[in-house]
């Protein structure tokens, strides 16, 4: 039995399992060197998004706003826009300004393309930074959509083709942790010295202590590198719950003939294998020995732990792409996904879960466009053994008295959200260990004997 949430009209959202579109844009812009984000709209949105990110990453996060007032909302944001861009340049000297819209500027119909054009024509500022704009009305998608459209907008604005063909690879990671990004870069660079990898917010959102103030933290993919993505031999997209019209990979394929490989989030052995295969195919190099060794150790640990976890029932929730990746891992290790829930509404959640999995997911309730209360009501009778997802599931885990394995974003109630790993063999290993231990710990706590070995 598969229960799909057909595009049913939801009356109301109760404890949403999603964020708004500009949030994704702000995250993606963090992955480019020297970039600063400006939200075109009113102040509250920028302040809220900053605070939400800060509570997870524990890093300074500056997002400027064009600070609409009542007049702006009535007469349009043109004047504020120019002043805002100039002030951002004056205070931050960015290499790139990412401009994302909010619901307000979209609703009053500000034409950002035109505003950027006018600004460039009229401004007296010399050596303008790159300006990339992306349209992110929140009534039309979620933070995931904002993230993907921003990668696409950056590619559309910056990427060129020089006619010089290379065996370089472009990799677009999904919304994963800084630790994940650092590891992905390590993998990719072991295949080829030349590659394009963004958004890479590994260092901008998980950086060292400072000796002096930096308006924009160091880190991110270099603009020069991004420009060269049109010459690469192939693109790998490490996400799959999106429309072609939101896809940077598809854009590069159409515009420059760079083949696009849409792999999805590489969680578990099979999906990481697919990622490594694609890297080998595009670069013509072979996987290094250390990577095969990591895979070997992961397989070994699957076997060592299999009996602790077989037949356990999990509810997985969060961003669609991460949910798809985690259900794929679970099907490799004998844990049954009884429900897969997301606030996302790409329409791909069910087909992507099915594509990656064998019969083990057949019984799963797959619910997209859903919130935490929908989830709570739906899983009442399923008696899951654990929840896997972000920290917003804590209240439910507490009520059901089952463990919550924290993954993805946000993790607001634990330390080290930026260092949780999920992807590749190494990330899967960490996630796998945490899942197994959550189950063992529960058994140890609930049992009346208190075994000290397991």
């Amino acid at each position: 039995m598969t229960m799909t949430q057909e595009e049913k009209e939801k009356d109301v959202s109760r404890n949403a399992c999603k964020l708004c579109t500009p949030f994704g844009a702000c995250l993606a812009f963090k992955g480019v060197t020297g970039s600063m984000t400006l939200l075109h709209g009113s102040q509250g949105c920028a302040t809220y998004i900053r605070r939400y990110m800060i509570s997870h990453f524990r890093e300074p996060i500056d997002i400027a706003s064009s600070n609409f007032t009542e007049d702006t909302a009535i007469f349009g944001g043109q004047k504020n826009f120019g002043t805002a861009v100039e002030n951002v340049i004056r205070q931050y000297s960015p290499a790139l300004i990412g401009i994302a819209t909010t619901c307000l500027s979209e609703t009053i119909g500000d034409d950002i393309k035109m505003l950027v054009h006018m600004f460039k024509k009229d401004t007296e500022v010399e050596n303008l930074p790159e300006i990339v704009h992306v349209s992110t009305p929140s009534y039309n998608g979620t933070h995931s959509d904002g993230y993907y459209s921003t990668i696409r907008a950056i590619s559309d604005t910056l990427v060129e083709k020089t006619g010089f063909c290379t065996d370089n690879v472009n990799v677009f990671p999904g919304m994963v942790s800084p630790a994940d990004l650092r590891y992905l870069r390590e993998i990719i660079s072991s295949f080829n010295d030349n590659y394009v990898f963004f958004p890479d917010y590994a260092d901008t959102l998980d950086g060292p202590s400072w000796d002096e103030y930096r308006p924009i933290p160091e880190g991110g993919e270099k603009i020069e590198n991004i420009r060269s993505a049109g010459d690469s031999a192939g693109t790998i997209e490490l996400f799959s719950c999106l429309d072609d019209k939101n896809s940077a990979g598809k854009l590069l394929e159409d515009k420059f003939g760079v083949a696009n490989y849409r792999i999805g989030m590489p969680i578990g052995i099979r999906k990481t294998d697919a990622f490594i295969d694609a890297l080998e195919r595009i670069t013509g190099s072979h996987a290094p020995a250390w990577l095969s060794a990591e895979r070997g150790r992961l397989v070994d640990s699957y076997i060592d732990a299999h009996k602790y976890i077989f037949g356990k029932k999990a509810v997985v929730f969060g961003d669609e792409d991460m949910v798809v990746g985690i259900t794929s891992l679970l099907s490799e290790i004998g844990i049954t996904t009884v429900a897969a829930v997301s606030g996302g509404k790409s329409g791909k959640l069910e087909s992507e879960i099915k594509r990656n999995n064998d019969a083990s997911c057949d019984k799963a309730m797959i619910m997209d466009n859903s919130d935490f209360e929908d989830m709570a009501e739906a899983i009442e009778k399923l008696k899951p053994d654990l929840l896997i997802g972000n920290s917003k599931g804590y209240m439910l885990a507490r009520k059901l008295k089952i463990p919550l394995v924290r993954t993805g974003f946000p993790v607001h109630d634990r330390f080290g959200g930026a260092r949780i790993q999920h992807v590749g063999y190494r990330g899967t290993q960490q996630l796998f260990d945490r899942i197994v231990n959550a189950i063992i710990e529960k058994r140890q706590k609930d049992g009346d004997w208190g075994y000290t070995y397991m």
């Binding site: 959202s13 404890n15 708004c20 102040q43 809220y48 600070n67 009305p137 000796d211 103030y213 607001h412």
Partner: protein, 446 residues
């Protein structure tokens, strides 16, 4: 680039500078990274702690997601306020209007959760698409038999202060509708405390020990029924002047209830608050009990504070608060533990506030209105700050620059009000300033 925008210079002053005329209450400059939020945020923080009400956000999802259970306002009863309800407007409603969806949402939620009343918050785009929220609320109110109050808090229509006012307007609709029989003449309402980490409970217990009846707490640990009979109290005791003075003034005009402004931050201010109330209620018996209470409480905490003070003597703090009133109390509290406030600012202070601050602070202190990260970091370095006292948004900046941090905002999980709160505050500051980790921060490595 010195990091300070030309137009911002009139919102920054030093206490030893001669001419003093702070320009405040200004909209933030376009393109600055303000620490301010929006009108909606102001309304939401004020009404949020009313625990048995339904809080429905009419707008797109973000405004609701970012405000879901992020505040530390606890409840001694229902916890309905912890739920994040939103009409989650989509493109269709943006084009054709969201009134129908709002109506359906309200009916569904009221049937399901049986709240004591409902607040409906307007967000920015509601102000643009022109939904008649008031009409929808009136209709549902009639059908469901509970109060359904629109809160006109469109984000762009002013600052956080306007949000406070919109919230007060909604509360005024309730006050005066309940039965006040049996309320003692020695009775008060507690206004402007939001029960962060149970603070209202602490304050309420002081008043009860003094023999004062607390009619309504607005809004910390708030209940709709209590608010409805708040006009039966003899005195309004208002903390956090920015958010609730409006309501107090209105109740004075309408019901003749006088009000006093107080603060529960620090020993001096808490004691002054309790004495003030006792005096206004005019009962010698209450005054006597108050003296006993203050003496006992201060005796309880003083030795510990002195111990902490030994370590903190002469350390330098930066204070950045929402309203300016809290900044006064923090400057005094810091003095209690031997510390100097070297940077003091607020998001929404007014001219008189800054004038008072100037008199209160040591010479050389930087005063700042509606600042931003670039400026803050500059002031922190210039003033050689040991600890930053403010909201979570400033925490990473402080840490990155090798300074400690103490959360004095609504997200904290530790009560900092009242006498025990003063100890908690001192301990918090101590824990951050005295930690050995700063030796590794690069600014200390030569």
């Amino acid at each position: 680039m010195d990091g300070i925008l030309e137009k911002r210079k009139k919102q920054i002053h030093r206490t030893d500078e001669a001419k003093f005329d702070m320009e405040c209450g200004k909209a933030s400059l376009a393109g600055s990274v303000s620490q301010r939020a929006c009108v909606f945020c102001g309304s939401r923080v004020v009404l949020y702690p009313i625990t048995d009400a339904l809080h429905l956000i009419h707008g797109p999802i973000g405004c609701a997601s970012y405000t879901w259970d992020i505040r530390g306002a606890t409840s001694s009863g229902r916890q309905l306020h912890r739920m994040s309800f939103c009409t989650d407007l989509t493109e269709k409603e943006v084009i054709y209007g969201g009134e129908k969806k709002l109506y359906k949402s309200l009916c569904t939620l009221i049937d399901k959760y049986k709240p004591a009343a409902a607040f409906v918050y307007a967000t920015c785009i509601v102000g643009i698409i022109g939904d008649d929220m008031e009409a929808v609320c009136r209709k549902v109110e009639k059908e469901k038999g509970i109060r359904v109050l629109p809160v006109m808090s469109e984000g762009f229509k002013g600052t956080k202060k306007d949000g406070y006012k919109a919230a007060c307007d909604a509360i005024s609709e309730l006050v005066g509708t309940g039965d006040t029989s049996g309320i003692s003449k020695h009775s008060i309402n507690i206004l402007g405390d939001f029960n962060i980490a149970g603070e209202t409970d602490i304050i309420r217990s002081y008043y009860e020990r003094m023999g004062v009846e607390v009619v309504a707490t607005i809004t910390g640990d708030g209940r709709i029924d209590d608010i409805c009979k708040a006009h039966g109290a003899t005195l309004n005791v208002v903390q956090c002047s920015g958010s609730m003075t409006h309501l107090a003034k209105e109740m004075q005009a309408k019901y003749g209830i006088p009000y006093v402004r107080v603060s529960y931050v620090g020993i001096e201010d808490t004691s002054a608050a309790l004495y003030d109330v006792a005096e206004k209620l005019g009962s010698e018996e209450i005054m006597e009990k108050t003296r006993e209470l203050v003496a006992a409480e201060v005796a309880k905490i003083y030795p510990e504070l002195l111990e902490i003070k030994k370590d903190l003597e002469g350390k330098r703090a930066a204070v950045y608060t929402g309203g300016a009133f809290k900044a006064f109390s923090l400057v005094r509290s810091l003095r209690t533990i031997g510390m100097i406030a070297a940077v003091v600012g607020s998001q929404t202070g007014n001219k008189e506030d800054y004038e008072q601050l100037r008199e209160l602070c040591d010479p050389g202190t930087i005063l700042v209105d509606d600042t931003n990260p670039v400026e803050l970091s500059k002031f922190m370095q210039e003033q050689n700050i040991d600890i930053f006292i403010g909201g979570v948004k400033e925490r990473p900046l402080a840490f990155k620059l090798g300074a400690g941090f103490c959360d004095h905002n609504h997200e904290r999980k530790i009560p900092l009000g009242g006498f025990e709160g003063m100890v908690a505050f001192a301990k918090e500051v101590h824990a951050s300033v005295m930690s050995p980790v700063w030796q590794f921060a690069r600014k200390n490595k030569g």
